[in-house]
């Protein structure tokens, strides 16, 4: 039953087919980024945020921290706004789903490697 030669025709076919992978950091064309990809967290619409802290409470990874609004920020009703520590965020999207006012979003920018933890805080 077992014999050699099952895979050879496939090998011959592959000699002429094109490369299956993308040379990623050098070439970005050909990367499949589907619509609705969950990636980097974003505080999209600050002006709608009430500072209710629901996002902080639901986050499973304790990635969201509520800080006092800085002068340059939009001043929310409670005076607090969320920031996200990307090093802890597991990109689940629960904060986006739970925010009653649709403030947060997960964008499709997937390049999230940084040299220091401080760079990983998203304001």
């Amino acid at each position: 039953m077992a014999r050699l030669g099952k895979i050879q025709p496939e090998l011959m076919k592959n000699v002429r087919s094109k490369q299956a992978t993308v040379r990623y950091p050098f070439v970005k064309a050909g990367i499949n980024v589907p619509e609705g990809l969950r990636a980097r967290w974003d505080y999209k619409m600050p002006e709608r945020c009430t500072g209710c802290k629901i996002c902080e409470r639901v986050c499973p990874a304790e990635a969201i921290e509520m800080i006092k609004c800085r002068p340059e920020d939009f001043q929310t009703k409670t005076g607090f706004r969320p920031i996200c520590h990307l090093d802890r965020c597991v990109i689940c999207g629960q904060c986006v789903e739970s925010c009653p006012r649709g403030v947060l979003t997960l964008t499709d920018s997937f390049e999230m490697a940084f040299l220091s933890r401080d760079d990983m805080i998203v304001y």
Binding site: R3, L11, N32, C92, E97
Partner: protein
């Protein structure tokens, strides 16, 4: 002069520790193999090398947060843990979820099985040194990975199930794309089935290796493809269906894939044919998916209850045992992953085989790790490391929990 040729040399018995990294899968796992020459005469499996205390963390989390924690128990079959936990909470709340949600959840489970089995097949090819087929099968696995990414937004941690349904809907465009993908995938899987069965490079390495006879498989309670490869009829999808498996099994179009070979080849054949069956199941699910809502609201506080949720994960029966207490946090959560059952059969499989076959025998149960033994505590502030024994860990954890009472 003595004639060296006539002297019978009995090779000394040597015990070789394999691990703490699994030789096949680069994961923590510990084995002690006693060998006589090249023959394995005894094998001791030491499970529980790695302890992540997920269950304990889960007791301090809300049910909603645990969904994501559960999905991170395993990086390959994340959808099964995530879906099974959601199912357990729904059982405890005695909530009924919409039909469409059931279908989507089951679809994700089946897609997960397809990619997990192809991944295993690639690893198996790699373990026997057949890297061509390993590369090719993993290339074609991307078809199903792209499908999962397309519908859930993430390749690995799909996180599709939530308490009361699923989080994303499947559009008609996605449905069409997936149906096209299934045609391609089915054709490719038929090819890999033939490669696995007919190509000498693979078959001669797995034929008759790692025998696990049906009575022993039963005694060591092997589950999933490990048990089915020995002819045991163990498959929760057929024996105790939940979600959309109920209408699916009522059609009678699908059958449990069994093999009575009992060796690694049997387990490989079961997995490859099961992948093709899973593609057919996914196609059935897509074509018969009812319209309607995908989510039902379930109150966050779950009434006191005690439930056991079962699901057929790619590696076998997965159990989530959940005790709820009327708050939004579990009282006790216990996960019994299928690999735990399959480990015990491992010692038997290894005995009498060659040392060189150990990696493929170990890989044949498709192991996946999450258990208990000892931990390394790394202090984040000064980066020191120390080893803690189980007793000290218990004292420290009791102290921690006294200082940090549960938030209500």
């Amino acid at each position: 002069m003595t004639s060296a040729g006539k002297r019978i040399v009995i090779p000394p018995r040597v015990t070789i520790p394999i691990g703490p990294q699994h030789p096949a899968l680069k994961e923590p796992g510990m084995f002690k193999l006693t060998v006589e020459g090249e023959h394995i005469v005894d094998a001791v499996v030491n499970i529980g090398y790695n302890h992540r205390s997920i269950e304990k963390i889960g007791e301090n989390n809300t049910h909603l947060q645990n969904l994501y924690l559960a999905s991170r128990i395993c990086g390959i079959c994340s959808a099964t843990h995530n879906g099974n936990y959601a199912q357990a909470v729904e059982f405890a709340a005695e909530a009924e979820i919409p039909e469409r949600a059931k279908f989507i959840r089951t679809l994700i489970w089946e897609l997960d099985r397809i990619h997990s089995h192809i991944l295993w097949l690639g690893v198996a090819f790699h373990e026997v040194g057949f890297d061509t087929a390993f590369m090719l099968s993993w290339r074609d696995r991307e078809i199903v990975m792209d499908m999962l990414e397309n519908i859930s937004g993430n390749r690995i941690h799909h996180d599709m199930s939530t308490i009361g349904g699923v989080r994303r809907n499947i559009s008609d465009v996605q449905k069409e794309q997936m149906l096209r993908g299934f045609d391609k995938l089915e054709e490719r899987m038929a090819f890999y089935r033939d490669v696995a069965i007919h190509e000498k490079t693979f078959w001669n390495r797995v034929d008759g290796v790692g025998m696990l006879e049906a009575p022993i498989a039963k005694k060591t309670s092997a589950v999933g493809p490990t048990g089915r490869g020995s002819g045991l009829k163990v498959d929760v999808r057929f024996n105790d269906p939940t979600q959309a498996y109920i209408p699916m099994m009522d059609t009678g179009d699908f059958e449990m894939i069994l093999s009575d070979r009992g060796d690694v080849a049997g387990r490989a054949v079961v997995r490859v044919i099961e992948t093709i069956e899973a593609i057919n199941m996914s196609r059935w699910l897509l074509n018969n998916m009812p319209d309607g809502p995908i989510r039902e609201r379930v109150r966050p506080r779950i009434q006191p209850n005690e439930v056991l949720a079962r699901h057929e994960a790619p590696r076998g029966e997965l159990i989530h045992y959940l005790v709820t207490n009327g708050t939004n946090k579990p009282d006790r959560w216990k996960v019994r992953a299928p690999t735990y059952n399959n480990w015990t059969s491992m010692a038997h499989c290894l005995r009498g085989d060659y040392l060189a076959d150990a990696p493929i025998i170990l890989a044949a149960i498709d192991p996946c790790y999450s258990c208990t033994d000892r931990v390394v505590i790394v202090d984040g502030n000064d980066e020191t490391m120390r080893l803690v024994s189980l007793d000290n860990l218990r004292i420290e954890s009791n102290k921690w929990h006294k200082e940090h009472p549960r938030r209500e």
